[in-house]
Symmetry: C2
Subunit: 202 residues, 2 copies
């Protein structure tokens, strides 16, 4: 038997799309865990059992890979859509439940990845801000229609960001270990109050 190591020799050995997909998957996890700046292309390549050069072959630059990871054209809008579909009187619970459920199940949600990268990466900060403005503040304000709608939407954003940071980044107890239902029961009414409750006069 001629002992030639097929696995460590140049040339085709996988479908290409498979490698590209594997890189994307690993990149999602690592960017999610450590943020943009603290994740190296080499670490992604190693974890994906791939040569670092392949990352650039498929995605051009590190930023290109990050853009692919944080692309929100997938299932994200669908989840958001379901929030605005139901009754306004129970939208608070729906916001909290949708947020926490989506962020809990898949450990590579673009929103958390962006939130983790935003503090040190201006590009991520801009992306995060634009996403929140467009998909949350804008739609919530339009839904309410009242003059103080923008402020109310801002209050909800504070709840969402605080919840995400406390649970997924800083791991503050008892928020980090609470169940989805507990969080919904606790923060659902609070968010609801921000949107439809009475607030202080100007």
């Amino acid at each position: 038997m001629t002992e030639h190591d097929n696995s460590r020799r140049p040339g085709r050995w996988r479908s290409g799309a498979e490698s590209k997909q594997r890189i994307l998957q690993v990149a999602r996890e690592l960017f999610h865990q450590h943020g943009y700046g603290s994740t190296t292309v080499r670490a992604i390549a190693t974890a994906a059992e791939v040569d670092p050069a392949m990352v650039f072959y498929f995605y051009g630059t590190k930023q290109g890979l990050f853009s692919a990871v944080t692309d929100m054209s997938g299932a994200v809008p669908q989840a958001i859509e379901s929030i605005f579909a139901g009754d306004l009187a129970t939208i608070g619970e729906r916001i909290v439940r949708t947020l926490v459920e989506n962020l809990d199940k898949s450990d590579h949600m673009p929103l958390v990845t962006l939130t983790r990268s935003a503090p040190t990466d201006p590009r991520s900060e801009a992306l995060l801000r634009e996403f929140i403005d467009r998909e949350l503040t804008g739609r919530l304000a339009a839904l309410l229609g009242t003059p103080d709608a923008e402020l109310r939407a801002g209050m909800v954003n504070v709840q969402i960001l605080g919840l995400a940071v406390a649970r997924y980044i800083a791991h503050i107890e008892p928020i980090a270990s609470a169940s989805v239902d507990e969080l919904v029961a606790t923060f659902g009414p609070l968010v609801q109050h921000c949107l439809t409750g009475r607030t202080a006069p100007p």
Copy 2:
């Protein structure tokens, strides 16, 4: 006139304590703006008009300098003390006012620096969590004394983190541009409600 450049020659030319202080000041601003990982010792040295080696001469390591920057033995406990000094019925407003006023005035508060570094630096994450647990959750829970005190304190932490991230890191409108009084009027009652309002039964 013998043209010898005094400013670029080795040897004493400042008091030492002055240089050490200047480095600390610049480090505060840069760590605050970019977080631990994205701030380089060289950048600090350049901004402080000092040789990079001096940073290590005075502070040993980059981490040592960061520890000096995020040291909370200064005026921070005093501000926190004033929160717990007053009436329980108005503690919500006091929390928000103290938080925002302190974070607004000096652009190098350790709390924001830690919050910005936490997502990518495990050490900062631990420090932030310990600070919140010790100075906020613990004291708030002790103040309330009720069985659900921990959860209520956790809700306040979410408000604080959300407010800090929305206003100082992600710059979400209209939170980022709101005045101190507006924020107090908006979030004071909300925080108050988290602590002393009625919540959902278990």
